[in-house]
């Protein structure tokens, strides 16, 4: 029996599911080239390039950027720029911190016995088995009560009052990212052959050298995939950010959500298209790197 033989049922179902996955995304991309500002129906592409924007009703007749009119508008949009900066700042800082402390925790949980261990392990499982909103409103309650007490006690006024902002978003992101980093690194450590470390110790390396030269390089792929997972979780996060952001710390998902509740111009589609393109390139690069590594081994 040929193991790659496919039944017509599986083939049809696969085709339909891929269609289901991609049709909405492709349509979103198409509408980012819409000539209609109202963006209700697709009124064709913007046909001409010109020195200035020419409108006819809600239709864009020509633009300095031609069919890419909405992308140019997007690049001029300051709110998008600051939301993008916030999103990346949060993702980078939170990924670095959660990768470091998460890897440390994974080593501790996998290698050592200590009194706190059951509590540590349990607290890392909880975020996976409760809905995000429960954690989100819990953190919101914590910050609002804590800030209220501190502001009153120190008599802080106006701008010096503690309030929600980038700091609270970053701190909260780390809290939901760490469990995933720890789980991924722990999984990597489980299949770890200890004889390399023992050999290093036998040859006279101390613990730190052993860690630096043997353990760390061996778990590095796990650490990197944990960091990557954490980074994407942070970029994508809506719920925790929704409850912990304040004025000036809007991230892209929060910004888009705000737009969806008001008027929607093709700029939102252009933003989506840019996002999808970046995702496409990043995932493609990762796949290429991964398959190269597989070939080397």
């Amino acid at each position: 029996m040929n193991p790659h033989r496919r039944s017509p049922f599986v083939l049809t179902a696969t085709g339909l599911v891929y269609f289901f996955l991609y049709a909405p995304i492709l349509m979103l991309v198409l509408y980012s080239f819409n000539a209609s500002r109202a963006n209700v129906t697709f009124e064709g592409f913007i046909p001409k390039f010109s020195d200035r924007i020419v409108m006819e009703g809600s239709l864009v007749k020509s633009s300095p950027c031609g069919p890419f009119h909405w992308f140019c508008e997007l690049s001029k949009n300051r709110d998008v720029g600051s939301a993008a900066r916030n999103t990346l700042t949060v993702a980078f800082v939170a990924t670095i911190v959660s990768t470091i402390i998460g890897t440390m925790a994974a080593l501790a949980l996998q290698r050592y016995d200590f009194k706190l261990k059951p509590f540590s392990q349990l607290s890392l499982y909880i975020p996976i088995v409760i809905p995000e909103i429960v954690m989100g409103i819990g953190i919101l309650t914590l910050f609002s009560q804590l800030f209220g007490i501190i502001n009153n006690a120190l008599g802080l006024e106006g701008a010096s009052r503690l309030s929600l902002g980038l700091g609270t978003v970053i701190v909260s992101h780390i809290a939901f990212m760490v469990p995933f980093v720890t789980l991924v690194v722990q999984a990597r450590l489980q299949g770890f052959d200890k004889s390399f470390e023992e050999a290093a110790m036998d040859l006279g390396a101390n613990e730190w050298t052993t860690f630096r030269r043997i353990t760390f390089p061996m778990i590095l792929p796990g650490v990197l995939s944990g960091a990557l997972l954490a980074f994407t979780l942070s970029l994508d996060d809506f719920v925790i950010t929704f409850f912990t952001n304040g004025p000036g710390s809007t991230t892209l998902p929060i910004y888009v959500y705000g737009l969806l509740r008001r008027i929607i111009t093709p700029q939102v589609n252009a933003l989506s298209t840019v996002w999808i393109t970046i995702v496409f390139i990043v995932v493609l690069l990762l796949q290429i790197i991964q398959s190269r590594e597989q070939k080397q081994n």
Binding site: Y31, G138, L142, S172, R261, S272, V283
Partner: protein
């Protein structure tokens, strides 16, 4: 002291785990305990919390209003029970549909030519990594009266069946929310099922065939049982977030489909009654924990959860 630390394995472990443990204590355990504390409290007229020990919020959530003596004939108000029930059934339906859609695709990828597998997986990752909010927006555009689904349906109706076509009201219906949820969470099911299917050795299929099993029997007796860890992991990754998500119902359900997530969100932002919102949030947590507990006790805790 450094020397003592070098010899004491237990304190080394504690020290390594300390930052994470403290972080989880401060931003998970304490917030959960605070939520519990607030849920027993009362709302002050200006929306603040008055700490007390009152079960009013829970009583209200389960349908009994506490100001019954105000001359009403019946105090039972099923609104919140309905919201909880709606969220629960939606999460079950979404999970079931997602399994049905994800399984054939995962099976196809796992049995595909190994050289092509990465490409097929790549095609699953793109929608997964495209932002959650953007994916809801895509369905909002599709389901609108002027959206692509109505355009296609209109074309089919007038050109093939030659009948008059009235655009369908698809947006702001329970069906729209269900489709949106299925779309959002489908990739989270495909990846773990794929991982467990991929581990099955081809020799097992050959053995089953040698022993005279047809393809249906092979599937039921070999493939399905061995892929259960993936299905379990996928279910956990889908069921739990669906229970608490509020954007999908907010954007695709409007005011028609209110889920417990929307209820909680509104208490914290619009209605400004954090005490009631906290009670609802705890009930949501208890509901998901109960379902997850019984489910994992029956099928085991899927270790494939890590890969997704």
């Amino acid at each position: 002291m450094l020397k003592r630390l070098r010899e004491n394995k237990s304190s080394q472990g504690t020290l390594l785990a300390l930052p994470t443990t403290l972080w989880m204590l401060a931003l998970l355990i304490i917030p959960l305990l605070l939520t519990l504390l607030v849920s027993f409290g009362k709302r002050s007229p200006d929306g603040d919390v008055i700490y007390s020990f009152s079960l009013d919020n829970y009583v209200r959530l389960f349908g009994y209003s506490t100001d019954c003596d105000s001359g009403q004939t019946s105090c039972f108000n099923p609104l919140y029970v309905q919201i909880l029930w709606r969220s629960l059934t939606l999460a079950f339906n979404t999970t079931a549909l997602v399994i049905l859609l994800a399984y054939p695709l995962a099976y196809f990828i796992a049995r595909a030519d190994p050289k092509r597998r990465n490409t097929f997986l790549f095609l699953v990752l793109i929608p997964l990594w495209t932002n959650f909010v953007i994916r809801v927006y895509a369905w909002m555009m599709l389901l609108r009266k002027e959206g692509a689904i109505n355009i296609v349906a209109g074309w089919v109706a007038t050109h093939i069946f030659h009948v008059q076509f009235q655009p369908l009201e698809l947006l702001f219906t329970p069906g729209a929310v269900l489709v949106g949820m299925v779309y959002e969470f489908l990739p989270f099911m495909i990846l773990p099922i794929y991982t467990s299917l991929e581990k099955i050795e081809t020799s097992l299929y050959e053995a089953a065939a040698d022993l005279g099993a047809n393809s249906i029997k092979t599937f039921l007796r070999v493939t399905l049982p061995l892929s259960m860890p993936g299905v379990v992991a996928g279910t956990i990754l889908v069921f739990i977030p669906v229970m608490g998500t509020f954007i999908v119902s907010d954007i695709l359900g409007g005011r028609q489909v209110i889920l417990v997530g929307n209820l909680i969100q509104r208490q914290f932002l619009d209605a400004r009654d954090p005490t009631f919102g906290s009670a609802a949030s705890l009930i949501l947590m208890v509901m998901t924990l109960i379902v997850t507990y019984f489910y994992t006790r029956k099928f085991g805790f899927g270790e494939e959860i890590v890969v997704a």
